[in-house]
């Protein structure tokens, strides 16, 4: 028999609210840096200079084949022994480097989905490589990459819960702190789960709206 203790939750709403803001904060900053790393690595993987291509491929393969939790531990506890690194920036670095590897693949797939002839046509019109990339290829690739990118951003928001392991007081950690005080795991984690759901759903809806705008000529 389950006895609900929902009446325990309201007193912790201010704490949960502050934690929600920190989850949003770390997610937004990590999405920004992650996109930057991903865009850079993705573009390096499709450009003609081989050493840089290999470098970007190594980054992607390395990060995609180890757990995020381990990356966070390496940065916070490993590198943290020599460099002063705060839980926030350790988490941002871990999340953005990790998710950047996945974003790189999305960018690469997007660019490769654009017909090779488009690039050739742009070059024959006298644009240089960067101009063709930017004005012709990327503008089409961006549109196609948006749905998978949204999925990745949603993943990142959920993965930010792992920042709790390096003591960043985001939603998950605050949820666990509250649960250790009132011992009502269902009530606490359903509340926390609801907040994650709303954030991620809003992100998906935002991107669908954006997709519609991009689809217009």
């Amino acid at each position: 028999m389950v006895t609900w203790h929902w009446e325990q939750i309201p007193q912790y709403l201010p704490l949960i609210g502050a934690a929600t803001l920190r989850t949003l904060q770390i997610s937004v900053v990590s999405i920004a840096f992650g996109s930057l790393f991903g865009l850079l690595a993705g573009l390096l993987r499709v450009q003609p200079f081989r050493p840089l291509r290999i470098l970007a491929a190594s980054y992607v393969e390395l990060l995609r084949n180890i757990p995020l939790m381990l990356v966070l531990y390496l940065i916070y506890f490993g590198a943290g022994a020599f460099l002063p690194v705060s839980p926030f920036w350790a988490s941002v670095l871990g999340l953005s480097v990790f998710e950047g590897a996945y974003i790189a693949e999305i960018v690469r797939a997007g660019v490769e989905s654009v017909d090779r002839g488009q690039m050739e046509a742009a070059r024959s019109l006298g644009m240089n490589y960067l101009q063709s990339m930017r004005h012709v290829v990327m503008s089409q690739a961006a549109r196609r990459s948006l749905p998978p990118l949204t999925g990745q951003f949603v993943s990142l928001v959920k993965d930010s819960s792992l920042a709790s392991l390096v003591s960043y007081e985001e939603l998950m950690l605050v949820g666990r702190q509250i649960n250790s005080r009132i011992f009502s795991p269902f009530e606490v984690f359903l509340t926390i789960g609801g907040i994650y759901f709303v954030i991620c759903l809003a992100l998906s809806l935002l991107s669908r709206w954006q997709e519609g705008r991009l689809a217009r000529p």
């Binding site: 506890f77 943290g80 392991l165 003591s167 950690l173 666990r176 702190q177 011992f183």
Partner: protein, 276 residues
């Protein structure tokens, strides 16, 4: 028609409708242990010297020996089966019948006792401090109060009485909750926290290990009583454990365990990594 009355009486008796049922319907934990010959003990390893993993991966510690003592008292060839659990869901795991008793250096508190039932204490301790040497100097008058300032970072383990004490005694400081006690100690080692609040025995050992970077304030500033926990309402098993804890102390076994795990500490070599 005559035969119906005894039949009704029989039904009343069988279904237990006739009055209060003698004894609870839940099967006796004690009987089940004696039948299966297995005492399932829930532990959260990492809390030296109560439960820790040695170089071979075996669980050793004061609590492990107490569990063995309990099994010996059960007799009948009962053996200990240790079930590892994370700390914050350990009471939930007990209630989910993953083990019969929690023996994991757990402090009894009224809040926890709403979810499980505690035995008499088998160990008395309190909270102590592990302090970073680069940030604080070990002066004679230094006390707990001196650390309650804005800007001071206090590390502890999530969901422990260390966290409760940290939030109570360091209201102006920032409390940082870590996954394990060794993560919290690392925060102090690396200077990411000024100090760590945790149970005195752990702080005593940890400060020995990192003497150049940390020092300890070992006088406990809280009083805590470690006890075993059973499921709420499991009074028969709890009563039996209480008697066994009394015997543990009366027989002198407790003192010899204390000597081994807290005074002579021959086990230090067993948990040391080759490199350190």
């Amino acid at each position: 028609m005559r035969s119906t009355i005894p039949l009704i009486l029989l039904l009343v008796e069988l279904t237990g409708c006739g009055g209060p049922t003698p004894g609870a319907t839940r099967p006796s934990t004690l009987d089940r242990i004696l039948t299966t010959k297995v005492l399932r003990v829930g532990m959260n390893p990492g809390y030296a010297p109560f439960e820790m993993v040695d170089v071979h991966g075996n669980l050793i510690g004061f609590d492990v020996d107490v569990a063995r003592y309990v099994a010996d008292q059960l007799g009948n060839g009962v053996r200990v089966e240790i079930q590892k659990s994370d700390w914050d869901p350990i009471i939930a795991n007990l209630n989910a019948d993953k083990f019969d008793v929690i023996l994991s250096g757990m402090t009894r508190t009224p809040q926890r006792a709403l979810r499980c039932s505690f035995t008499d204490p088998y160990f008395e301790t309190g909270q102590a401090l592990l302090v970073n040497r680069a940030k604080w100097k070990p002066t004679p008058g230094l006390s707990v109060r001196d650390f309650d300032r804005t800007g001071v970072i206090v590390a502890t383990k999530l969901g422990t009485t260390g966290e409760i004490a940290a939030r109570k005694f360091f209201r102006k400081a920032t409390v940082k909750t870590m996954e394990t006690e060794s993560d919290a100690a690392l925060e102090v080692d690396a200077g990411r926290a000024d100090l760590m609040v945790y149970d005195q025995p752990y702080i005593a050992i940890r400060s020995q290990e990192a003497r150049e970077r940390t020092f300890a304030l070992l006088d406990p500033f809280t009083k805590e009583y470690l006890a075993m926990a059973v499921r709420r309402g499991d009074t028969e098993f709890r009563d039996w454990l209480n008697l066994t804890i009394f015997e543990l102390r009366a027989s002198g076994k407790w003192d010899s365990l204390y000597q081994n795990w807290f005074v002579k500490m021959p086990w230090l070599d067993q948990v040391k990594r080759p490199s350190s």
